[in-house]
Assembly symmetry: C2
Homo-oligomer: 538 residues x 2
């Protein structure tokens, strides 16, 4: 077959050819704007010309510091299709992490959303390599800023030609650069090749959970983290209507957009879905969410109670995706087999809360600490290893972490899982979060799953604490519904575990907190909880 | 990203992992057998070991001469996954063409279905390179045959190990070899790489017309022609139930299988669908075909009247695929856009009979005879050029045809088409079948489309005949329904064109025939019609 490189350009060109009139909706704090794929394409071409004019070399890194909006989408295409690399900076990292990754990536130019200026200004003096900022705003005039060499995005692209001869080049060329969420340590960089994204995004169009031309897709998962799970590329490729929720979106914003734009498909982390569920329940009848065909939850374990609540209370099917920054990210998807689709009762939600089946294109192993395969019996736990065209080759400029991350050419996910005879994977825990109690393992995720089924519990996280006799024991941090704070006792919580898990799994202690600390992408930060526990501030 | 080769093995391994218990049904003249993906996998491993034992080298060609059945499926996986090349021989070619391609491919071993033995025996003495035949049959004993060095398939694999360490190798390695249908001349060979098939089959899982785990897929399109459109690979990959219709299947066999196996998805050429429609209409109430979710028609133009009949009379949606042996084959698919799904009346079927949208992954151009782009206005005709990862690089051992087939790196399809502003391609005709009348072009396909809408017409083909003044003029060959033979006159047919096409398009002559000659894969053979006309035998 032809030596045809797998490039992101292919997605853009097909989108324009088959869906030129398709709508793209972009919200921002000023309101909602909409344009067509044709107009998007033209602005992408203009932006590519502007990058040429600025003299940016092939393979140079360009930072984006932005929400999910139409200009970020334009960067997603213009930068890699003109053979530069888009470094999507996670705006929610701590200042020191931001400084670290921007310097580590050697970004010399950063595209930044207007409302994120203060954040960037606060660290700008620690970014010696950055030469230029491009401000993304609908405002006609340059907002007041202390950033040096600031240009308005709209001025940058104005007058440029609306066609661009996007070149052919090697499919192994890096297209995007992203960093991990820093749940367990400093963020690690991952380079995404055109080839890897092409294949990952094709996969993201497969099956019942693949977005279709008839869908209205709203990526809640941020474009500043793991390529928004590939949605901007895949949705453009297939010609779906796209809805970008923009700056500081709240549950209310999401609900409004679902209602007004007739969203059919959305992807996000469990904490987002918890927030939306709360908002819908507190405002009965306020929104029409009947357009939604399915929701994809990923980034951390999906509590079974949440799947159940969405289906029973809202009539919305929610499915789980599993993946990592290192894997572009999607590796497993939980769509149930035909024979499991009509299960009823507890069994139904048990299957639906499974991590899922490996997606087409990847290969897996489950190994014990010695690297030997564990049986696929639904019980034996092992570390999940992965291979595949959208799995990283090594961390960016980090040989030490890269060495640790591989075992005979397989990527070590750092996650412990089981695999059953039907091919459903169940992620049990991160290696670091597993509780080693008296030589046996307790899954913090399983315990959370149980306690979050308690009707008065909003959120809960389980961590290991040191124990003289058992080495480690679980304790649980619980956020109650405001109305329930005086009604529910520690004993009530402990009792709730009884009969639901083995006796020796039941946590030693319950700590009521007003909030579970979260990471940059809304995951429970157990690292923070452990630190708080150690310093006595929990 | 990882340097992970795109190999067919990946599809097989995932199929086994996620769908080990899924059913595979295989019909043959003795009856219907069924087994699971797990058993299929084990026999694939046994077959791979047997090929090793026979000493077959990497990249060596292995011929298959077989119907759509489970042993053919096993060959589809065992041969390429163990790094050999499966040459799927089109059993319907003429003897001289068979001899040509088997010798051209240098097959030294051929796997052959029992009931095809007489055909092979009749040409065996012209196949000096073939050393060995493997007979595929459920019979316990070797059928009587004059073929030399014949072994039973079941004996070949018996006792071999049911696990095989399928190796990693270069994704550009050839997996399958196929030849074109010989509609226009001698068959031309196309080598399919693992990479190309991986990408093509991933694409075949995308969108509404992608097969899903919940589907029951029955590939009618033969496994001896263009990889059965990739279905055996893609269906195994996604874990769908597969139904193989086996030896000499008739419309009755297809209807029975649809009914008994609850088929949801099938793919075939228009003449097959015409036959099935006739059979269903002649046997009202005899079959339950309500399980069918969609049918995909391809290989030649889909008459609008057929789409309409399937929808109105059977409630079954039929869609069109377009492609070529040279393109693995699928390049365009006709699933309508959301905004076109609820069209009613003529407009509905006009859109549904469009050739369709380019599939994700490919790139197209439409050019005039000088190679300049023609406008995408739905009217301007040009030759369709294609590029993409599953488009051929060159014909197998045929430098001359290869040279003609490319224009600046683009594959020339030899088909003339229009493209409208909604991205729908319409194939107008083959370059060779277009009728050049007085400096203007008449589409034989359009004329056929019109006349096949006549309620008393079963089939019709339009060819060009030489004309003194206009260079060429169309004539139409018509097969009437048996009941209508005495009722319908040539004038009735000509009258039917009036108001439906421009006056000067109306054919000069109507010839009633009892059958339209067909090619090896059931296409109208206009080459034969033209020859018959020239020799005065039409
Ligand atoms: N569906 C899921 N179920 C359980 N865990 C999940 C799921 N999806 C993602 N995860 C967890 O998230 C991890 C991937 O997250 P990500 O790549 O965003 O960074 P991180 O691992 O949180 O941060 P870092 O690697 O910097 O510590 C996985 O390894 C897994 O632990
Ligand atoms: N949906 C379709 N509509 C119209 N024509 C089609 C369609 N699908 C396939 N075709 C025709 O079939 C051709 C591809 O057929 P195939 O590769 O089987 O061999 P062939 O072209 O018939 O034979 P040969 O190339 O040997 O003459 C296309 O080039 C096109 O002319
Ligand atoms: Mg991680
Ligand atoms: Mg051809």
């Amino acid at each position: 077959m032809m030596d045809y490189p797998l490039l992101i350009r292919s997605m853009l060109e097909r989108g324009r050819l088959v869906a030129a009139d398709q709508e793209i909706v972009s919200r921002d704090f000023r309101g909602v704007m909409r344009y067509t794929v044709r107009e998007m394409y033209e602005r992408v071409c203009q932006l590519a010309h502007a990058l040429d004019r600025l003299g940016i070399e092939p393979n140079e890194h360009i930072g984006s510091f932005a929400w999910n909006n139409h200009r970020h989408l334009e960067l997603y295409f213009a930068v890699p299709c003109s053979q530069r690399v888009l470094h999507t900076i996670n705006i929610r990292l701590f200042a020191e992490q931001l400084v670290y990754i921007i310097n580590h990536a050697e970004d010399r130019i950063i595209f930044i959303d207007e409302d994120l200026l203060p954040l960037m200004e606060s660290i700008a003096d620690k970014l010696p390599l950055v030469e230029r900022f491009i401000i993304m705003t609908d405002a006609q005039e340059m907002p007041a800023t202390t950033l040096k060499n600031a240009t308005l995005y709209e001025e940058l692209i104005r007058g440029e030609m609306t066609e661009y001869a996007f070149p052919d080049f090697d499919e192994w060329t890096t297209a995007l650069l992203g960093y991990t969420s820093a749940t367990t340590g400093m963020p690690k960089g991952v380079e995404y090749s055109h080839r890897g994204l092409f294949l990952h995004c094709m996969m993201a169009l497969v099956g019942e959970l693949g977005v279709r031309e008839s869908d209205v897709s709203m990526p809640i998962v941020p474009m500043f983290h793991v390529n928004a799970w590939g949605r901007p590329f895949a949705d453009t490729w297939i010609g779906a209507k796209q809805v970008y929720p923009g700056s500081r979106p709240t549950a209310k914003d999401f609900c409004e957009l679902i209602d007004h734009e007739r969203v059919t498909y959305s992807a996000g982390v469990p904490t987002v879905w918890m927030g939306i569920l709360q908002h819908l329940k507190s405002n009965p009848g306020a929104y029409d969410v009947s357009s939604v065909r399915c929701l994809l939850s990923g980034g951390s374990a999906l509590p079974q109670s949440l799947v159940e609540a969405y289906e029973k209370e809202l009539g919305i099917p929610m499915y789980q995706g599993y993946g990592q920054t290192e894997t572009s990210p999607i590796t497993f998807i939980s769509y149930p087999k035909k024979k499991h689709q009509n299960l009823q009762g507890a069994e139904r939600y048990r299957i639906r809360a499974k991590t899922g089946h490996i997606v087409p294109g990847l290969e897996m192993r489950l190994v014990d600490p010695d690297g030997n395969p564990v049986p696929y019996d639904g019980k034996s736990m092992g570390e999940l290893l992965l291979r595949g065209p959208w799995v990283l080759r090594s961390y960016y400029k980090d040989p030490e972490k890269s060495r640790e991350a591989f075992l005979n050419g397989w990527f070590r996910t750092g996650d412990i899982a089981t695999m059953d005879s039907e091919g459903y994977l169940q992620v049990v825990d991160r290696t670091r979060d597993l509780i080693k109690s008296g030589g046996e393992w307790i899954s913090s995720v399983d315990l959370e799953n149980v306690v979050m089924g308690h009707p008065e519990v909003l959120e809960a996280a389980v961590i290991a604490v040191p124990h003289e006799r058992w080495q480690e024991r679980p304790i649980v941090c619980v956020v109650l519904r405001p109305e329930a704070v005086d009604r529910v006792s520690k004993e009530d919580i402990l009792q709730y575990f009884e009969g639901r898990v083995a006796k020796w799994w039941i946590p030693d202690e319950v700590i009521f907190v007003s909030e579970i600390p979260k990471t940059s992408v809304g995951k429970f930060s157990k690292k923070t909880l452990r630190e708080q526990y150690q310093s006595g501030s929990l």
